[in-house]
Amino acid sequence: MIGALNRGFRHVGHMVIDGVWKLGVATRFSWFVMSRSTECVRRAQLLLNEVYFTGTLSLIIIIVSGLFVGLVLGLQGYETLKRYGSAEALGTLVALALVRELGPVVAALLFASRAGSAITAKIGIMKATEQLSAMEMMAVDPFARVLSPIFWGGVISMPLLAAIFSAVGVFGGYLIGVVIIGVDSGAFWSQMQANVDLQEDILNGLIKSVVFGIAVTLISLFEGYDAPPTAEGVSYAVTRTVVTSALVVLALDFVLTSFMFTGV
């Protein structure tokens, strides 16, 4: 009985210390990645390849999900607003929901599962097959040559993807609200423009997506680099990337929202 309790405490303590330790390593790792960024300025092609990999290849999933999220928002929003006789506010509802929250958050979640998992798998396997060590043997810094371009590629792609998501979503809301249901087109756009603020809403949404881009890419890189060099280790690392990214994005979203939209 005492022994089992003792083991339980020891297990919890071990987990806490391990978590803090890992966070420290992750911080040092992040600093390494950022401090070796000069290589991607010098060799833009490295960066471009990563933007292509994380950004362009994620376009389809972002556009399609953005459209459907916009369609659903339009439909649900209309059903609710109709009861209060203010169906014209549909444009405001769709645009604010997308620009402030859904655009950055859902794009970041999709980004984590589409690009983040691929990054982790790539780095994990490069490490397992000792490609990173081989680079070091040839005096090529893997941080400067591989990790840092991926980081900056993700940071550049994420805000653009979130903007595309929001824009396509607004179009989806327009499609359902105006084209299919028949809300007045002028009221839809003018109410939207009157209530969506450039700084308050759009700029803050952009800041959110940049923060999410940094967080998701760093988590993906770190999990890949930290993965045990086995098939199982890499597979666990990919899972951890998606789970941790999702949790971190949602938690950061709450923190950022409470800073940005304090109900002024």
Binding site: L48, V51, L160, A167, Q193, I202
Partner: protein, 152 residues
């Protein structure tokens, strides 16, 4: 410089992203509407501003002519001091009155300007003398209830 296919696709992606941002700024946001940064400020003292917020529209005859610049509390007169920024295209007479109105039943509050007849017009830093406070629902209802009570 050698052109690769990757460059083309990155170009497509970045263009799409920037177009989306521009659409959000111009079509969804209010970057294209009256910014009122190019204008002049006048002040008004209100007994009660209700739910008026900074950046709320300032309308005259229903047309947006400016924005509320800032709201502060004046502890000399114990009233609210509202800065109104008006687009420089529009000139208003000195005896213009300002009232706090509500758009629709549940809509947001805005400032309505009613032009007077003075020949001189409002300039930077002038004060609007005639102001009408926001209607606070409770005060209005209690006022009506008191009126009802005296009639009996």
């Amino acid at each position: 410089m050698k052109r690769t296919t990757v460059d083309l696709w990155v170009g497509v992606f970045v263009t799409a992203g920037l177009v989306a941002l521009l659409t959000l700024a111009l079509k969804v946001g209010n970057a294209s509407t009256v910014s009122a940064s190019d204008g002049y400020s006048v002040f008004g003292q209100f007994e009660n501003i209700g739910g008026l917020k900074a950046r709320a529209p300032v309308k005259s005859a229903g047309v947006v002519v400016g924005r509320v610049g800032g709201i502060s509390f004046d502890d000399q007169k114990f009233s609210a001091r509202v800065t109104i920024r008006i687009d420089k295209r529009y000139k208003f007479p000195k005896d213009t009155s300002a009232s706090i109105l509500t758009s629709g039943l549940l809509g947001e509050q805005y400032i309505g300007l009613d032009a007077g007849a003075d020949s001189a017009s409002l300039n930077e830093g002038d004060e609007i003398k005639i102001t009408q406070s926001a209607v606070v629902l409770e005060k209005f209802l209690y006022g009506k209830a008191a009126e009802g009570g005296t009639k009996k």
